[in-house]
């Protein structure tokens, strides 16, 4: 004998409501969010950043929760990455003069203890290359820093790259 399942009207309505809610409000796949803040640049400085990692191109510094407890970005895990939206990519160089394009950046350092740059600030690292005759320093970084001399006839300077970058308003995806 076939069993006939009887559905109560209330159950049908409840199931329909659940489906409707699921369609209207999809569950977020991750906690990523699109945020905006000032981007600045830095260069030279200490070989290892505030968290003991060697600082290289493609990394950035942001606030710490101790210094800037009101900045949500200050709580992002060290080593997590952001994905650039606008601008994207950011142009950097290495000691051989090769141009590199970064569409994502990894947080491995900290800075701006006075929180002067506002929430979601990122200080993009532009490297430590320079001419052998130039000093290893750059405004805002510990001096003298750890530097690498230009190779293969390249005459660039990472501090000039950071200076040229200036301060730009940027939009990006937070770490997942």
């Amino acid at each position: 004998m076939a069993t006939v399942l009887r559905r109560s009207p209330a159950l049908v309505l409840s199931a329909a409501a659940t489906v409707a809610i699921a369609l209207v409000m999809p569950t977020p796949a991750s906690a990523q969010s699109e945020v905006s803040g000032w981007f600045t640049g830095y260069a030279m400085g200490n070989r290892y950043g505030a968290f003991g990692v060697e600082v290289t191109d493609g990394m950035f510094a942001n606030h710490t929760p101790q210094d800037c407890p009101g900045d949500p970005a200050a709580y992002w895990a060290v080593g997590s990455s952001i994905t650039l939206v606008s601008p994207s990519p950011i142009v950097e160089h290495d000691a051989w003069g090769a141009t590199t394009y970064y569409e994502s950046l990894t947080v491995e350092d900290s800075g701006d203890p006075s929180c002067s740059q506002g929430n979601y600030w990122a200080d993009v690292y532009f490297g430590r290359f320079k001419l052998a005759t130039e000093p290893c320093d750059c405004p805002g970084s510990p001096s003298p820093g750890y530097c690498i001399d230009d190779q293969a006839g390249y005459t660039g300077n990472a501090c000039n790259d950071a200076t040229n970058f200036g301060r730009a308003w940027a939009t990006y995806w937070s770490p997942p």
């Binding site: 830095y42 601008p87 950011i90 405004p139 805002g140």
Partner: protein
Amino acid sequence: MQRCHELRTRLGYLLVAALISTLSACGTALPKPTPAADAVSVGGYRIELVLESDAVYGPAPSAAWQRSALPGLGARCRWERVGEAITTAWFVWGGRQLSELSGYTPTQTGTHAEREGGLPDDAVTDSTTATVYCGARDANGFHLAALRFTFHRAGDHTDVLSENLEGIERAE
């Protein structure tokens, strides 16, 4: 009563005239900067390039973006794509030598880019003149605003005496 009023009015005119005369005699102030246009339209972009007087700018500031060849003087540049959508535009900035700072992909109509900071060393031509460039590079070449200005360096700040902004198209 009417006489008193006239006397007061005349006295007022005399005081104002004396004040103007005294200020004119002291006339050692630098001439006011010639107002420049804030923006130019070139190659599908509207480019705004203005000088910024701010004590944070100088040769030895607290952050790289504030380093400037001229004390107390920086610049702010903002461009907006007003032409049709294109794949990518690159933000270009500099003095005699231009640098590509970042890309905007895609560049839609209305896409905008902004940068502020100090002036590069090679923007300064001599002790009184400088030229800074800002704009975009795309598949059709460079689309730039050139801001030429004369200045007077005065200790920890720089007085701008005259400015001229013009649009420049340059092939790749």
